[in-house]
């Protein structure tokens, strides 16, 4: 808990930025392949790629949560409501 408070005070660390960057890359790839599947719903290659991305993204998001960072309100843990105590993405 102390570590989490320390992070909040220090703002966004290089570690968080790197973990988030990985999530951004995978999320973008997922959005792109989902959009492709909207117009090519039977494309096996795209479906297989999506399955891989889902696994990798779930793993990256779990890593992010494990380090105490929150992507959605569901990820917020601890004794205080960290959602409003950590910066929003245009601020850093």
């Amino acid at each position: 808990m102390e570590a989490a408070n320390e992070r909040r005070n220090l703002g966004v660390t290089a570690e968080q930025t790197a973990l988030l960057r990985r999530i951004q890359e995978l999320s973008f790839a997922k959005i792109e392949v989902e959009l492709f599947l909207d117009t090519h719903p039977e494309n096996d290659k795209a479906l297989a790629y999506l399955a891989t991305l889902r696994g990798e993204l779930a793993e990256a998001m779990q890593q992010y949560r494990d380090r105490g960072f929150a992507l959605t309100t569901d990820d917020v843990e601890g004794e205080s409501w960290g959602w409003v105590q950590t910066p929003f993405p245009w601020q850093y």
Binding site: Q24, L35, D38, H40, T72
Partner: protein, 198 residues
């Protein structure tokens, strides 16, 4: 329903504030071919679409456009953060500043506030999807124009990402239009396929 994720779709990290650049980029938030118009157009057109493939594409692209509104908002916030009144005057940002200070307000660069008159919802799948193709091209041109006016590498990197999304969305809408047109009437090659049955 939507779930907010505390991240931008693509990172925005602008090191140098620039009032003049903000005064033109604001058009991609609230201008005639901006991201707010795009999200509003697609998310409203989708209700009456006769084909689930069109509903899905409009929902997904419309949702992505909401994320693009946030990216443009981030660019505007970072380009104007901490500007002094002298810098605001020198950058020609004073006419925006007098009404909105440094708040992020959806307006066209020439001062026309966001207006739904610049988007269309016709209630006809072929008409609406044809509009969406033009909308993506018009947004692409606006990003081309921003790249012509900007020499900030931090800004241009993000603008190039957003420009590329217009190109991809155009492809998906073209496929959606073809699919929907064929479904409405496979034998009609001239795309006069009214959606409304009356």
């Amino acid at each position: 329903m939507w779930i907010y994720e505390k991240k931008l779709q693509y990172p925005v990290r602008i090191k140098t504030p620039n009032a003049r650049l903000a005064s033109v980029i604001v058009s991609q938030l609230g201008g005639p071919d901006g991201e707010l118009g795009a999200a509003t157009r697609y998310l409203n057109q989708r209700y009456t679409m006769p084909d689930p493939q069109a509903v899905g594409t409009l929902t997904d692209i419309g949702s992505e456009e909401l994320g693009h509104c946030e990216m443009i908002g981030a660019i505007l916030y970072q380009l104007t953060k901490g500007l002094s009144p002298a810098e605001i005057k020198a950058g020609g940002f004073d006419q925006y500043f007098v009404d909105h200070t440094l708040g992020v307000y959806p307006t066209a660069a020439a001062g026309m506030p966001f207006n739904a008159a610049s988007i269309g919802v016709k209630g006809d799948a072929v008409a609406d999807l044809t509009e969406d193709l033009a909308a993506e091209q018009k947004a692409r041109v606006t990003y081309d124009n921003i790249l012509r006016l900007s020499d900030d590498p931090d800004v241009n990197d993000v603008i190039r990402f957003l420009r590329q999304r217009e190109v991809v969305h155009f492809q998906r809408f073209a496929e959606t239009l073809r699919h929907t047109t064929e479904k409405l009437n496979q034998k009609n090659f001239y795309a006069f396929n009214p959606e409304y049955p009356g």
